[in-house]
């Protein structure tokens, strides 16, 4: 059952990414291009996505997930250096190719060989992240 609802959720996510135009890298780069020909579509996508989720978070109060377990607790609000360094690196790559992980996977089958090359590079990046994290921790500890 967990896998079934995960499949439905992933499918709806992918359909939403396609409908919203977020699989189009020029729309994403257009949103980030505040000094050029700015495209505000992504603000509507993010705004539209936050509405059902804000309602869902309210609904979690005093309840448990339908399939058991507990809802994820609110993370520790401490802002660590990894959150900042990681977000900056991610943002740089997001701007460079116009792809973040969701749309990269959603467009995997229709982005020619470029899609699989990006996703493979992203997976390699995920594999080398732990040593990069240790390195960043080392710099943060010595400064």
């Amino acid at each position: 059952m967990r896998a079934f609802f995960a499949l439905i959720s992933g499918g709806l996510f992918g359909a939403g990414l396609l409908v919203s135009g977020m699989v189009d890298t020029t729309k994403v780069q257009g949103w980030l291009d505040v000094f050029g020909d700015w495209d505000p579509t992504l603000a509507f996508v993010l705004g539209g996505a936050i509405i059902p989720m804000a309602i869902a978070w309210r609904f979690t109060i005093g309840r448990a997930p339908k399939l058991g377990g507990t809802f994820p607790e609110k993370p520790n609000p401490r802002i660590g250096h990894n959150l900042v360094v990681g977000s900056v690196l991610f943002g740089a790559g997001w701007g460079l190719a116009g792809l973040c992980p969701g749309p990269a996977m959603a467009s995997l089958t229709f982005a020619g060989w470029s899609g699989p090359l990006f996703v493979a590079s992203m997976i390699v990046g995920m594999l080398v992240a732990p040593p990069v994290r240790s390195w960043v921790d080392g710099i943060a500890a010595s400064s």
């Binding site: 609802f5 499949l7 439905i8 959720s9 992933g10 996510f13 992918g14 359909a15 939403g16 919203s20 135009g21 699989v23 189009d24 291009d33 050029g36 579509t41 509507f44 996508v45 993010l46 539209g48 936050i50 509405i51 059902p52 989720m53 978070w57 448990a64 997930p65 399939l67 507990t70 994820p72 802002i79 990894n82 959150l83 360094v85 990681g86 977000s87 900056v88 690196l89 991610f90 943002g91 740089a92 790559g93 997001w94 701007g95 460079l96 973040c100 992980p101 990269a104 996977m105 959603a106 229709f110 990006f118 590079s121 992203m122 997976i123 990046g125 995920m126 732990p130 990069v132 960043v136």
Partner: protein, 142 residues
């Protein structure tokens, strides 16, 4: 035509948010694309790998099934291997260090007023803007 793009953006956004709401309320999990994939890649999500794999299967297969109605869809993705490899590495390393991407920090974090989600979103938006300014307008590689 731009205004029509905004409407489809809003409709697609509502679908993305509904997918995240479903995953939260039914499975009790955060819908973060980088976290779901990352847990499979580094083995940290071994205990619930079927849930992760099923989510990714839906994410990849459903857009493929919709292609007959979205015949004009164009990703405009770069064909420069150096750009794709560099960007992929940055996105992979960055999302794992930050523990989230646009879906996890942006959609799921902001909607619960998580300080971490909001700070991450501010930093990746700023870095993305600077990246486009640098690579498009200054260096002209994209």
């Amino acid at each position: 035509m731009i205004e029509q793009d905004w409407i489809w953006g809003l409709v697609g956004g509502l679908m993305i948010g509904s997918a995240a709401a479903l995953f939260l309320l039914v499975n009790g999990r955060i819908m973060g694309a980088s976290g779901i994939l990352g847990g499979l890649v580094d083995g940290s999500g071994k205990s619930n790998w079927t849930e992760r794999a099923a989510f990714i299967a839906g994410l990849i297969v459903v857009p493929l099934l919709m292609l007959p109605i979205y015949t004009e869809v164009d990703t405009h993705i770069s064909t420069n291997p150096a750009v794709l490899i560099a960007a992929g590495l940055l996105v992979g390393i960055g999302t794992r260090l930050a523990n989230g991407c646009t879906s996890g920090h942006g959609v799921c974090g902001i909607s619960r007023f998580s300080l971490r989600g909001m700070v991450a979103t501010v930093f990746y938006l700023m870095a993305g803007g600077i990246s486009v300014l640098l690579f498009k307008h200054i260096l002209g590689v994209i």
